[in-house]
């Protein structure tokens, strides 16, 4: 789990690494929206080429991206099969009871597969080239306009960054508690699901007590260092919008326009 959140970032100095996190975040959202506008072979082709360019620009081996698909492979297969077997229209190629495969459902299945692939790729690019902290800061920058309606954006960002910072700490403690229980003969790995859930409950109590202790001590330490409220602080890190961001956006906007234009 700690690898899932922290081991994902790969340090680097590529074009994509240097883009500001807020623009990467927004660009990823934008790309996902564009994917849903694509509905023919050419537009999916264009988007695939685009994502290939992005992957090349990130300077990260394609293997990391393929790994990103693995945990979702069953979901993808299931959805694609559903699409192929249950959608109607077009020439029927094969049918059995309620199931039928038509040429159109095959095409739609292919498109669904492409959508999954493209969405996973773009989000993998985002998490591989951006630290969790930078993502938190990006979210803060994007939400900044909400300050006008008194939404506590900075508090939220501070909470997010402290939460991320404590994930490995709590993971370590979980490991320690599990080892302590194992030493007393608890078996976490085998038995029925019910048994395993039962074994997990005694883990949660010490973990929560520990977390509350951390929170209490941390708040004392924060106060001692002059913290009063999170909305009136200066910021050490700043992610400026860069020329690279503008160029990337212009490129993506142009591709988006083409995809919408050639929509059937």
């Amino acid at each position: 789990m700690s690898n899932f959140i922290f081991g994902r970032y790969l340090p680097g100095h590529s074009w994509i690494h240097q883009m500001s996190p807020q623009s990467k975040l927004l660009l990823s959202f934008y790309f996902v929206i564009i994917i849903f506008f694509a509905n023919n072979l050419i537009s999916y082709g264009i988007l695939s080429i685009l994502i290939l360019i992005v992957i090349l620009l990130s300077g990260i081996s394609i293997m990391y991206f393929l790994k990103g698909i693995r945990p979702l492979i069953w979901l993808i297969i299931f959805t694609v099969l559903l699409q192929i077997l249950f959608s109607s229209g077009g020439r029927v190629l094969w049918h059995f009871g309620p199931f039928s495969v038509t040429n159109e459902s095959l095409i739609n299945g292919g498109f669904i597969f492409m959508r999954f692939l493209l969405i996973i790729m773009i989000s993998t690019v985002l998490t591989l080239t951006t630290t969790p902290l930078a993502i938190a800061d990006g979210v803060q920058t994007i939400l900044k306009p909400l300050k006008k309606v008194k939404f506590p954006v900075d508090t939220l960002a501070l909470m997010l960054s402290i939460a991320l910072r404590f994930v490995p700490t709590l993971m370590d403690e979980m490991e320690t508690i599990m080892n302590a229980q194992r030493a007393r003969g608890v078996d976490f790995g085998s038995g029925s699901l019910k048994h395993r859930v039962k074994a997990a409950v005694p883990l949660l109590v010490p973990l929560f007590t520990g977390a509350i202790n951390h929170a209490e001590n941390l708040s004392t330490a924060m106060e001692a260092r002059g913290f009063s409220d999170s909305e009136h602080r200066t910021k050490y890190r700043q992610y400026r919008w860069q020329v690279k961001d503008t160029i990337s956006w212009l490129f993506f906007l142009a591709i988006g326009a083409v995809v919408i234009f050639i929509r059937k």
């Binding site: 700690s2 922290f6 630290t131 969790p132 902290l133 938190a136 960054s161 402290i162 991320l164 910072r165 490995p168 700490t169 370590d172 202790n213 951390h214 001590n217 941390l218 004392t220 330490a221 924060m222 106060e223 001692a224 260092r225 002059g226 913290f227 009063s228 009136h232 602080r233 200066t234 910021k235 050490y236 890190r237 700043q238």
Partner: protein, 277 residues
């Protein structure tokens, strides 16, 4: 010498608990290293929290560098004091080393351009500059305490309080942290209040105060305090290693020397003893 912290007849109790401090007074001289020793529950950490205004007094006054600790002055008082707490994990606020050092500066509304210089300078002074991009999970306890000290130095305080800051470290980490604080104290003319139950840490102080059940029962130089190891033992504190060795020697009739010595003095004394025999 000027008193930088004046604790004047304070009383305090935790909610629903008996009075911990009753009319306690204590002065801390500017530029000294004061060790406050005592058992768990003697109130030594509570005293540190009262001085920093993290908890509120029942009665009495505390003055820090001419400012009374109260609601109006609280942020000014805290900017004069830096506390290194016991658990390295629980005072690391930032996501990375440099973010953590910057945390205090952000609170004090420092300019971003200035912040980067100060962070660099502070991290270099504790030898952690090369680790600036690390996350806390990849640091040892001693390294985290160094970062905590850097975060304090960054705010150029007048007083550093070590609240059992070395108790969760291994002996080497402990020694390194104490040497670091000693060096920073000399370079920046700081006052250090070290709250500890590590006798060897107290032995390096200029002055030692023994706290027992919220009362100051003794106050002297380390030499004066450790010359009476029996008294320490009565309230459940250990004597430093050198005192124990001397006591053992006198038990065996080797010598009658009772006054406290530090490591070097003891070594010199033993050499002398051996050569004269």
């Amino acid at each position: 010498m000027k008193d930088i912290v004046q604790v004047d007849k304070i009383s305090y109790n935790y909610p629903d608990q008996p009075l911990l401090f009753d009319q306690l007074s204590l002065d801390v001289h500017e530029g000294e290293w004061l060790a406050i020793i005592g058992q768990n529950g003697s109130g030594k950490s509570t005293l540190a929290r009262l001085i920093d205004g993290l908890i509120v007094l029942n009665e009495g006054h505390i003055t820090v560098d001419g400012l009374q600790v109260n609601d109006q002055n609280i942020y000014n008082v805290r900017s004069k004091i830096g506390i290194v707490f016991q658990n390295p994990e629980d005072q690391f606020v930032g996501a990375t080393v440099e973010d953590d050092v910057a945390f205090g500066l952000e609170n004090q509304l420092f300019d971003r351009s200035k912040m980067h210089d100060i962070v660099e300078e502070s991290l270099k002074s504790v030898g952690m500059w090369d680790f600036r991009e690390r996350i806390p999970a990849n640091l040892s306890g001693g390294q985290k305490q160094r970062v905590a000290i850097a975060g304090i130095i960054a705010l150029s305080p007048k007083i550093i309080i070590l609240d059992e800051a070395t108790s969760m470290l291994d002996p080497r980490g402990r020694k390194e942290i104490l040497e670091l604080v000693q060096r920073l104290k000399n370079e920046n003319h700081l006052t250090v209040i070290s709250i500890t139950h590590d006798i060897d840490e107290a032995a390096g102080a200029d002055r030692v105060v023994i706290l027992n059940h919220g009362e100051i029962i003794d106050e002297n130089t380390p030499r004066g305090i450790f010359s009476h190891p029996d008294k320490l033992r009565q309230i459940g504190l250990d004597a430093p290693y050198t005192s124990k060795l001397l006591a053992a020697l006198s038990k065996r009739g080797v010598s009658d020397e009772k006054s406290y010595m530090n490591d070097e003095e003891l070594i010199a004394w033993i050499q002398q003893l051996v050569s004269t025999k």
